[in-house]
């Protein structure tokens, strides 16, 4: 360490004097902005360092038996939060150097037996003449008035098999640039919906962010806010959605959803890196996992502070090797905060019930306290149970019948087709997670928290058919009443 000059403490007066000198020197040039701008030398290149990477920011994952097609499962994953509708000619493209993945673990090993992978490319016909994404009304996906569109390929990757291309060069529904340009966005989304070989369908589209919560409950708990989670004042913003509906047999181990009805699901995003090895003419490298998502709110409410980045970088198969993560599941923070703030006693630890909910799935065979056979891969008859490891996944039992009148509290509300048995659009995961962390069981809610966050549904209703997620908002958030 070399000795450094101590910086002079700047006083208002001293600055004013300096500024006066400066403006005298500038001799009439109007210095813009408050505070005379004095920057760094050209030699010191200051690159951006704010960790905002919305294109690969995975906000939510849903997995449920399709209410209108009960022999299929629908998987929906959302990326790129806080898209301002009608924010001028804005477009919110998927990244073209990334893998957008939804992973299925049907054997309980924490590794994917099946991955659905979307990759995108741009078709940009704007040239240098315009920055606008359309030069007229867009009634159809293929209209020449749409100057920028994204094409994608969807692959099905099964362990031990070559990747199968399910959809080749399909067109994603564009970002909705406004009612004048795109009078019927629903039509564009329908045109963008593609049938899959072997049954099912898929769509890549913009959508209204279906997540709903009031963050005040977390503010109280954390003495902070969760704005960095991308789950802040969501009403009115859009997201990018990838949705796929497939026959249950496509997901089940050995294709048999009767004998092996449980699957673990997580979404992940990988981006291609580069190697600095000099002299290579194409600086590329392997794909690196930059985000991952299974159960909602786990990274916010369960994963300890120093482990959040590791959690995003590692696969679920590594979770049980992270002693700090397991320790936090067994001894979580939230109940202690609730006890401190509300005086509600925290349940006794270790919280093996939470281990079941988040890491193993709920089943008698897990040896945990929740003596119900609900959604652990250990319920699958054909798997090798010795290979089963605890791993953070959203687990869905595909044999649970579709509930005619869903309860927003899911399993805790006595509706066994809801979260944490998969996740439906209307499951109130904030209230459920809070109740679960407080030790609630089906039919035995923690009354003091029964009001939860007071927000019980999304800002815009989801729909009754695929992809279920609502069409994008079109009014700018800042003007929304």
């Amino acid at each position: 360490m070399t000795l450094r000059r101590k910086p002079a403490r700047i006083g208002r007066r001293r600055s004013a004097a300096l500024l006066l000198t400066l403006s005298t020197a500038v001799a009439g040039a109007a210095l813009a902005g408050p505070g005379a701008g004095v920057g760094q030398a050209s030699s010191h290149r200051e690159a951006p360092l704010i960790a905002s990477d919305p294109q690969v920011d995975n906000t939510d994952l849903y997995a449920f038996s399709s209410p209108d097609k009960s022999d299929t499962v629908t998987l929906v994953a959302n990326w790129y939060p806080f898209q301002e509708p009608n924010g001028g000619p804005n477009f919110y493209p998927f990244a073209t150097d990334a893998h957008y993945d939804i992973n299925i673990d049907s054997q309980g090993t924490g590794t994917p037996d099946l991955t659905y992978r979307w990759t995108f490319r741009n078709e940009d016909r704007r040239g240098d003449k315009t920055f606008l994404y359309n030069n007229g009304v867009v009634n159809n996906l293929t209209d020449p008035t749409l100057l920028f569109r994204q094409h994608y390929t969807l692959q099905e990757i099964r362990t031990g098999h070559r990747p199968v291309t399910l959809v080749d060069d399909a067109i994603a529904a564009p970002s909705n640039v406004g009612k004048a340009s795109m009078p019927d966005y629903g039509r564009l989304r329908s045109q963008a919906t593609r049938r899959l070989p072997g049954g099912g369908q898929t769509v890549a589209s913009q959508a209204a962010d279906p997540f709903f919560l009031d963050l005040r409950i977390f503010d109280l708990l954390y003495g902070g806010n969760l704005s960095e989670t991308g789950h802040n004042t969501l009403n009115g913003y859009n997201v990018n959605t990838l949705a796929i509906q497939v026959p249950k047999s496509a997901l089940a181990y050995r294709g048999n959803a009767t004998r092996n009805p449980v699957v673990g699901v997580w979404s992940s995003t990988e981006r291609r890196t580069m190697q600095l090895s000099p002299g290579k003419s194409t600086p590329t490298g392997p794909y690196v996992q930059v985000s991952r998502l299974g159960n909602p709110l786990v990274n916010e409410a369960v994963v300890p502070a120093g482990l959040k980045n590791a959690f995003n970088a590692l696969p679920p198969s590594q979770d049980h090797n992270q002693p700090k993560l397991v320790a936090k599941v067994l001894d979580p923070e939230v109940p202690k905060l609730v006890q401190a703030i509300y005086g509600i006693p925290a349940p006794a630890t270790p919280r093996t019930d939470l281990q079941e909910i988040f890491l193993t799935g709920i089943a008698k065979a897990t040896g945990g306290p929740l003596a119900v056979d609900l959604n652990s891969q250990l319920l699958n008859k054909d798997i090798d149970k010795r290979r089963f490891v605890p791993a953070e996944e959203l687990r869905l039992n595909m044999s649970t019948p579709v509930t005619a009148k869903p309860n927003r509290l899911g399993v805790l509300g006595g509706d066994f087709q809801g979260f944490p048995n998969g996740r439906r659009m209307a499951d109130d995961v904030v209230d459920i997670a809070l109740q679960a962390l407080e030790g609630a069981t089906p039919g035995h809610l923690i009354q003091a928290l029964a009001a939860g966050d007071g927000v019980n549904g999304p800002g815009r209703p989801y729909t009754g058919s695929f992809p279920y997620i609502a069409l994008p908002f079109t009014n700018a958030v800042n003007q929304a009443g």
Binding site: R4, A16, L18, A29, L49, A310
Partner: protein
């Protein structure tokens, strides 16, 4: 009239500064200067601009003053905003916010540690920055942002292998605009210009905010300019401004490219506009040198006066910049003072730019024998920079090493015939004279 405008300006400045008095009271962060032209925002939507981010964070922190994470984000956002608006009075505010975050959450506060590293880099206290970044890396080996701050610090300190390791770590943890831009600079410094451009293209693909798009376009422009393609450079600068009209660096860049293309009047106008918006020392110095090259010495002297005043304000906000000050003094002031300043800087860090600047100051002070080893140090990475090569050529010429002088002066002009309005013509004159001496 002019006098009145001046007083009004100073008053406005002081009023503006008063707004910075206390972190807790300040509700209005400095917005970017109003754009000259408004082509309807950026090329993409995405995250709000930094001013909006800052306002939101401040609002949240008024409601939740114990939010350690919020304070860390605010502190980093101030540094980012200072980078974009070139306003050093944001640094003390950044430091208060970051220290408050660390006081609230001393353990596992990677974001605040990274923020402190970023702030130290912005203030050119690179050894401090390295210390903070090392702490952050130790705290969370999977966090990628600390490696960015670490790479910045190590690059400036001249620890090139470690700097390259840091950026590779960052790339392996989180390939993104932040890591690709740093990769590009590392590649450029090592003379891999084509790969540097490819890395910037990757950074551009991943950029989601107008400011980041502008950053990538701007440095693609810089690469084009530095390799002797002023028209391509101008195209990139214009794309940067189309994405973010407030990205003043590209207005100054446009001026530099226009000067190289012989459009002096346009260059003068653009420099004036850029400096009126953001009086970056670099623009002021470039503009002064352009005016000098046009024979407008009086106006050039005015610009150099601005520069000296700025450097005082700079120091008052805790920024150490002996490099910038030394470069100016070597060419336009007191070479002996330049040697003193740059020797101090060289004792702090063995970066190639400092080696070049100190070598050049030595030459200007008549100490060519000491200058040459430094000029050779500046070449140690293989960076293809015309000005560096010109400096070396002139030093060699002064020492009577005529063959290498010819090679280096010709090399400088081959790399970029327009590297400086003042020194490129001088390089041509010298080369002609040397070729006459064969």
């Amino acid at each position: 009239m002019r006098r009145l405008a001046l007083i009004a300006t100073a008053a406005a400045l002081c009023a503006g500064l008063a707004g910075f008095a206390a972190l807790e009271d300040s509700a209005d962060p400095p917005g970017p200067p109003a754009p000259l032209s408004a082509p309807g925002g950026g090329d993409r939507g995405g995250p709000p601009d930094m001013g909006t981010v800052i306002t939101k964070l401040q609002t949240g922190l008024r409601q939740q003053p114990a939010d350690a994470s919020g304070w860390a984000q605010l502190g980093s956002a101030y540094v980012e905003q200072a980078r974009l608006t070139v306003d050093p009075t944001l640094y003390p505010k950044s430091e208060s916010a970051l220290r408050r975050s660390l006081a609230l959450q001393p353990q596992h506060n990677t974001a605040a540690l990274t923020g402190m590293a970023g702030l130290a880099n912005a203030r050119h206290r690179f050894a401090q920055a390295r210390t903070w970044a090392d702490k952050a890396v130790a705290d969370d080996p999977y966090a990628w942002a600390p490696y960015g701050a670490l790479n910045d610090a190590l690059t400036q300190l001249g620890d090139d292998p470690a700097a390259q390791d840091a950026v590779q770590h960052m790339l392996d943890l989180h390939p993104s605009t932040e890591s690709f831009t740093r990769a590009s600079y590392t590649l450029e410094l090592h003379g891999h210009t084509a790969e540097a451009a490819q890395a910037l293209q990757r950074a551009l693909e991943d950029a989601s905010s107008p400011a980041d798009v502008a950053f990538c376009q701007h440095y693609l422009g810089e690469l084009a300019f530095n390799t002797g393609h002023p028209q391509q450079a101008l195209d990139h600068y214009r794309r940067a401004l189309a994405a973010d009209p407030t990205y003043t660096a590209s207005l100054a860049g446009s001026a530099r490219a226009e000067a190289a293309l012989g459009q002096s009047d346009r260059a003068v106008t653009d420099y004036r506009t850029a400096i009126a918006r953001v009086p970056q020392p670099q623009y002021v110095l470039e503009f002064g040198e352009l005016l000098q090259s046009l024979g407008r010495d009086g106006e050039a002297r005015t610009e150099y006066g601005v520069l000296r005043a700025e450097q005082k304000l700079f120091a008052a906000n805790g920024v150490v910049d002996d490099l910038n000050l030394g470069q100016y003094q070597a060419d336009h002031g007191d070479p002996e003072l330049a040697v003193t300043l740059l020797t101090a800087e060289w004792n702090r860090r063995h970066n190639v730019l400092v080696a070049d600047a100190l070598g050049w100051a030595m030459h200007r002070a008549g100490r060519d024998a000491e200058a040459l080893p430094l000029a050779r140090q500046a070449d140690r990475l293989g960076w293809r920079d015309a000005l560096l090569r010109y400096h070396r050529g002139v030093i060699e010429q002064s020492l009577g090493d005529l063959a290498p002088a010819r090679t280096d002066l010709a090399g400088a002009l081959a790399a970029n015939p327009h590297f400086s309005p003042l020194y490129a013509p001088d390089a041509r004159t010298r080369l002609a004279r040397l070729q006459g001496q064969r």
